[in-house]
């Protein structure tokens, strides 16, 4: 296991709130989207968000028990907690209706398959991987100079040709290429670091390779652009709209060591 992984789990175990926020920021949208999908329209964005909070709160209580050496993916572990939370929510809802007390949703059967025929777990894992890539891009964005990153974003993510990018920002095409190459190199490094940080198995670590991110520059750019196109498209949930300190800060972590 990569040492950074240990550090991240340690940070979570030590109740480092910024580590938990990182987790929430990176994987929260994935979990929310899954709750919304499992609910098949029966649960609204507010409930999805509440359930996501509950998932992370449960995760906080169980983090002490997590053993990365057992070879279980962190994402799989997260999903299993989310499933239990979702099952509890279904039970709660059914208890108040006719036929209450009976289990209306089998957790063993798992959530229904998606329309494209891909098993939900595969789709979930793909989402988790895309979330890691987006986290890496965010990190590069926060550590790069604004102009360089914008050039890369316009050229690679928005797919604008180099000459046009150069015209827009009032520079030459070679300068654009230099900016793009520099950001690409940084992203490669950050991607490796981020995937290691959130991955606990060899299989997870090889995901980048499978997604074409270890290939040549042009293939790497195309793969990143595709992930961005899928992930940063239309929002999957509605905004809260309320002035609040909800979401992250309303999660109540159990005391350290609680079982």
């Amino acid at each position: 296991m990569h040492p950074i992984t240990t550090t991240f789990v340690d940070r979570l175990r030590n109740r480092d709130e910024s580590a938990w926020f990182e987790l929430w920021e990176t994987f929260g949208p994935v979990i929310r989207a899954h709750f919304a999908r499992w609910g098949r329209g029966a649960i609204g964005p507010e409930t999805a968000r509440d359930l996501t909070q509950e998932t992370l709160a449960q995760l906080a209580g169980a983090i002490e028990r997590f053993d990365p050496e057992r070879g279980v993916r962190f994402s799989t572990w997260l999903l299993s907690i989310a499933r239990h939370i979702f099952g509890d929510e279904v039970d709660r809802r059914m208890a108040g209706k006719r036929g209450g007390g009976r289990r209306a949703f089998s957790l063993d059967a798992g959530p229904p398959a998606s329309s494209d025929g891909v098993a939900p777990d595969d789709e979930y894992e793909r989402r988790i991987f895309r979330a890691k890539v987006m986290a890496a891009i965010r990190r590069v964005e926060s550590t790069s100079d604004f102009l360089g990153f914008q050039v890369w974003q316009t050229r690679v993510l928005d797919g604008v040709v180099g000459r046009e990018v150069a015209e827009r920002i009032g520079t030459s095409e070679p300068t654009v290429s230099r900016h793009v190459a520099r950001i690409r190199d940084r992203l490669r490094g950050e991607l490796a670091r981020t995937i290691s940080e959130y991955s606990f198995t060899e299989e997870e670590s090889r995901e980048a390779e499978r997604a074409g991110l270890a290939a040549s520059d042009s293939a790497f750019d195309a793969a990143i652009a595709e992930i961005y196109r899928v992930e940063a498209g239309a929002p999957s949930v509605s905004p809260d709209g309320a002035s609040d300190s909800k979401a992250w800060s309303s999660i109540r972590f159990p005391p350290r060591g609680a079982r």
Binding site: F21, D158, S238, P239
Partner: protein, 689 residues
């Protein structure tokens, strides 16, 4: 000359005769003074009466003219709406026909309301009689205001009545149907000097919101003599908590100085303040309307784009004023922006925070419009003054601009994808505003300069990112103050363009005229070209601003040297406030280095506005408490009441809090009491050395 002591003249000055004379004289003088006093009182009362009467008559006449113009315009336009509805009905486009019919109905209702106002309401108001407005958007408040009145229908006032667009439809603030309001204590919906006309949906803070009309005597005391205000009330008996009240009251004085708050009162069981009342749609609603009108994926046309970007410039300009006043809004989002009379107004000052506050940063705000960096910093326990809160507002302004272009929220922050066609320069502005904390616009002025550059361009698509002032390294002031040079040098069309910028403050017809002829939907290429040329004068503007800046710099350095003299003259000290545009952390460092309030008392020269944690001390009542530490000073709380509240919150005696301060190494507490431009330092309780 010898005076005969027995002569009649001498007898008249005998003891008795002399006393009567003196008493009579004194009485006469007193009577004269009394009569003079009465005369002066009568004169004052008469003058005030005449002034109020003349004021009311002028206001009434102006209002009647406005009402009649609006009524005539609506009456003239209404037949077109009706005709359109009929035509659409005939050709089978029922939904649009229904919408046109609704528009016709609303115009007729508006005509009726305006006539009612012109004929009945306004004339009666001269006599001090206030007739309730016949507005369907306002409902009578429950309880003492309208005993026995039926429960109010769903209310959508203040934030407009239009339906929210689909992406925002889940927003609880735009679809609130408040339940009947319990009023067990019976004290919280009556405000001295105000007549409640209706209530508004409660916001996220849980406070009660009322629409009220100030009584004439109160109205003349309020800035701008508004005919209606919004009152936000927090009552302990109705769910509000003491910390909430303290948080809301923290920036009150500063908010008042910015005109955000008109009036306020802290009473034994509640706290309330009055704000300006704006009627109109929220930016969310307006953006939804504009996007729906053009289809879901076509983006905005040039006219809508110009209108909405112009409103964004209003918002950014307002925020720049906040920041110059030492505050940040903290909850900038489309639902908190009301478009009224063609201008955008920021509402909801509930989270407004002083940039120099020493309180811990909180995560309050609205997801997707709130900078994730702020949440990170809050979780680390960072104090407000240790970060630059203005940059969090800049992020939010970028998010709002994104929502204007995309009609949805930026789900992925700065990486959010643009799905609809929009000018590259505006996308660049969004990304720059939402970039990493250290890489985004350092000030609102720079963002405003970029927006204005796009607004003044021949066409939005013609403005390339490379031409933006922030990219050229231009002084933002050259874009913020272009009118002086343009008015004096350029020709008529650039003058109109400059006028458009200048008259944005007034929102007058010049602005509309200029923006129409020089905007993106402009009529003639010649005029467009002239407007484009106007931006070419920026070097002149830059030069002029540079000259002014140098002059101001010289003056400031002179003041600085004088301050230093005071500082070195014994028991006098200088307290520096953050300069405009200066980051709070830098100001804090400078302050810590330069401030040394000595033990004892002495005058303190206040430079600019002294931001002590929360408030500018304006009167002896709002004097600030300051703890003197080993390294400079640390503001503790606003005033004595706040100190008492702090003690209550902590569940400890004030002495215990002082002991805690001593434990942390503070030398003691002083009280800063304003004396004009100076502040008197008075030790309250020195604990230890």
């Amino acid at each position: 000359m010898v005076v005969d002591p027995f002569s009649p003249a001498r007898c008249a000055l005998s003891p008795f005769g002399s006393d009567f004379g003196v008493i009579g004289t004194v009485l006469a003088i007193l009577l004269g003074l009394f009569l003079a006093g009465v005369a002066i009182m009568v004169l004052i009362v008469s003058v005030r009466f005449v002034a109020v009467a003349v004021g009311r008559i002028i206001a009434c006449a102006g209002g009647i003219v406005g009402d009649l113009i609006t009524a005539v315009v609506n009456l003239a336009v209404a037949p077109f709406s009706l005709a359109r509805a009929l035509v659409l009905l005939v050709i089978g486009r029922f939904r649009e026909a229904d919408r046109s019919a609704e528009r016709f109905q609303s115009r007729i209702v508006e005509v009726g309301m305006r006539l009612w106002s012109a004929v009945v309401q306004r004339p009666l108001r001269i006599a001090g009689v206030r007739v309730p407005p016949r507005r369907h958007s306002l409902v009578p408040a429950h309880g003492p205001v309208g005993p026995g009145a039926p429960p109010p229908p769903p209310l959508m006032a203040h934030r407009g009545a239009a339906t929210a667009p689909p992406p925002f439809a889940a927003s609880p603030r735009s679809t609130v149907d408040p339940p009947p309001w319990p009023n067990p204590a019976g004290f919280s919906n009556s405000f001295p000097g105000y007549e409640i006309e209706g209530r508004l949906p409660s916001g996220g803070s849980g406070a009660r919101l009322f629409v009220a009309a100030p009584e004439p005597a109160k109205q003349v005391l309020l800035p701008g003599t508004p005919s209606r205000v919004v009152i936000k009330s927090f009552a302990i008996g109705e769910g509000s908590t003491l910390p909430q009240i303290i948080r809301e009251s923290r920036s009150l004085d500063a908010a008042k100085s910015l005109g955000l708050v008109l009036d306020h009162a802290l009473e034994p069981h509640r706290f309330w303040y009055a704000m300006p009342h704006f009627v109109g749609p929220t930016l969310t609603e307006l953006v939804g309307q504009r996007h729906r009108a053009l289809g879901s994926s076509r983006g905005l046309d040039s006219r809508s784009l110009r209108e909405l970007v112009s409103l964004m410039a209003d918002v950014v300009e307002n925020l720049a004023k906040f920041h110059r006043g030492g505050l940040w809004h903290k909850d900038v989002k489309p639902d908190n922006i009301i478009v009224s009379a063609g201008r955008a107004h920021l509402i909801d000052v509930g989270l407004v925070t002083p940039l120099a506050s020493t309180f811990t940063l909180t995560t309050h705000g609205t997801e997707y419009f709130r900078d994730p960096e702020m949440v990170r910093q809050a979780l680390r326990g960072t104090k407000v003054h240790q970060v630059d809160g203005a940059r969090f507002d800049i992020y939010s302004a970028g998010a709002v601009l994104y929502s204007v272009l995309e009609n949805t929220f930026p789900a992925h922050g700065a990486l959010s994808r643009f799905e609809r066609p929009s000018p590259e320069s505006l996308r660049w502005i969004v990304r720059r505003a939402m970039a990493d904390y250290h890489r985004r616009y350092p000030t609102m002025d720079e963002m405003l300069a970029d927006l204005r550059f796009v607004l003044m361009a021949k066409s939005p698509d013609a403005a390339l990112p490379a031409q933006l002032p922030s990219m050229r390294g231009a002084d933002p002031a050259s874009m913020l103050e272009p009118r002086l040079e343009l008015n004096s040098i350029a020709g008529a069309a650039p003058r109109a363009a400059a006028g458009a910028v200048r008259d944005r403050d007034a929102g007058g017809p010049v602005r509309r005229f200029a923006s129409r002829w020089c905007g993106w939907g402009g009529r003639s290429a010649q005029t467009k070209g002239a407007c484009w040329k106007s931006t070419m004068w920026s070097p002149w503007a830059t030069a002029a601003v540079a000259v002014v800046a140098i002059a101001v710099g010289i003056l400031k350095s002179d003041r600085g040297s004088r301050s230093h003299e005071r500082n070195s003259s014994g028991n006098r000290a200088v307290v520096h406030a953050p300069a405009a545009g200066e980051s709070t952390s830098r100001a804090t460092r400078r302050r810590a280095e330069s401030t040394d309030l000595p033990e004892g008392s002495g005058p303190v020269l206040v430079e600019r506005s002294l931001m002590l944690s929360n408030t500018i001390p304006e009167s002896a009542e709002s004097a600030a408490m300051v703890a003197i530490g080993k390294k400079g000073w640390t503001p503790i709380v606003d005033d004595a009441e706040a100190l008492a509240a702090l003690a209550t919150l902590a569940g400890r005696e004030p002495e215990a809090i002082q002991a805690e301060l001593a434990r942390r190494g503070y030398r003691g507490l002083v009280r800063l009491e304003p004396r004009g431009e100076r502040v008197h330092v008075r030790p309250v309780s020195f604990i230890a050395r």
